[in-house]
Symmetry: C2
Subunit: 202 residues, 2 copies
């Protein structure tokens, strides 16, 4: 039977992960986000630490790359970023064939385009994202609003460059998604419930 | 009591009007689209035909404008487009204070920004929009796909220029909306029902 797959893109700090988790609970779908890094490292037969700072980033074409040497599965000379993308793509396709699931980020909308996944993009105003980052704690407490804003923009810029590099499409451009949700002014818990109905009814 | 208002933007041929109508039925909200032209003409005390070809269009700054001469409510020398925008803006604000309603297009999201309306944008792939235009009949039967595509693009270009002219924002840029829905691959009737729940639950 054909599996139902949600490819979920999200701006940093927009609550995308929270919506993804709640959708996964409501719909009974498996949920894959950072887990994909670990699965990719296992598949490439390398330590996770090689990929740790390369998740959802494109290699920098202006610098000599950190070439990846080891492992039987990949060509010597590929950048760690390319190896990571290749491994994650294989894994994402296998998961989407195996089970109903939600894949967060990692160009899943493009990788799975033949399967017509439900493509969801979560975003929010900068102000709301700063508030959300502060509420989640982590490093935000030590940063000024301006520092936090710069950090949010910098993470999104990397995601956008990564997405563009591997898909030749513009990250977050609504035409590449079925539904784009601005979380600035809504109750995320309710929103996730209703989005789940929408996906169920499709 | 504060009124609930939906400002609905839409690409031509995307099914925005159909969703708006169904939302209006489900939620019991009043619905305003082309009616606004008539109301604006009444307010300006001119015949509707003066505005008929100017709805959702910005005046062309490179041409001498068709100056509007008559009526006690407007300054002489204003373009018909500016008069129409001014009248419609007043009417939209009054309606939004008076009753729960859906306002289609006409920069309502921007005009009502202080009231925080629910801002919805409806769009679709070009292919789906061509199919929809054909299904609706009208002039589409006499046009080739390419002619129809050009017509759709041309109408949207006018809407975009109009929106940009009066709001200084980019038409259809998702950050200006709470929810953006791609109707290409969904059942519009179901979609409208679920969007109504989403707006009710907000």
């Amino acid at each position: 039977m054909k599996k139902h797959v949600i490819a979920l893109g999200r701006q940093f700090g927009s609550g995308g992960r929270e919506i993804g988790r709640k959708l996964s609970e409501s719909l009974g779908f498996a949920y894959y986000d950072r887990e994909l890094l670990k699965l990719a490292a296992e598949r490439a037969e390398v330590g996770e630490e090689l990929f740790a700072d390369k998740d959802e980033k494109a290699g920098n074409p202006w610098l000599f790359k950190a070439f990846y040497q080891g492992g039987p599965k990949v060509k010597q000379g590929q950048s760690a970023e390319d190896v990571l993308f290749q491994m994650q793509s294989e894994i994402i396709r296998e998961l989407a064939e195996k089970e109903d699931c939600i894949i967060v980020g990692r160009c899943a909308d493009h990788i799975l385009r033949d399967m017509k996944p439900f493509r969801l993009f979560i975003y929010a105003d900068m102000e709301a994202r700063i508030v959300r980052c502060r509420a989640k704690g982590e490093d935000a407490a030590r940063m000024s609003d301006e520092e936090l804003r710069q950090r949010i923009l910098s993470i999104d810029k990397k995601r956008a460059r990564y997405y563009q590099f591997y898909t030749d499409q513009v990250w977050g451009d609504k035409i590449n998604y079925d539904l784009c949700i601005n979380t600035s002014a809504v109750n995320i818990k309710k929103l996730a419930g209703i989005t789940a109905s929408l996906i169920r009814e499709r």
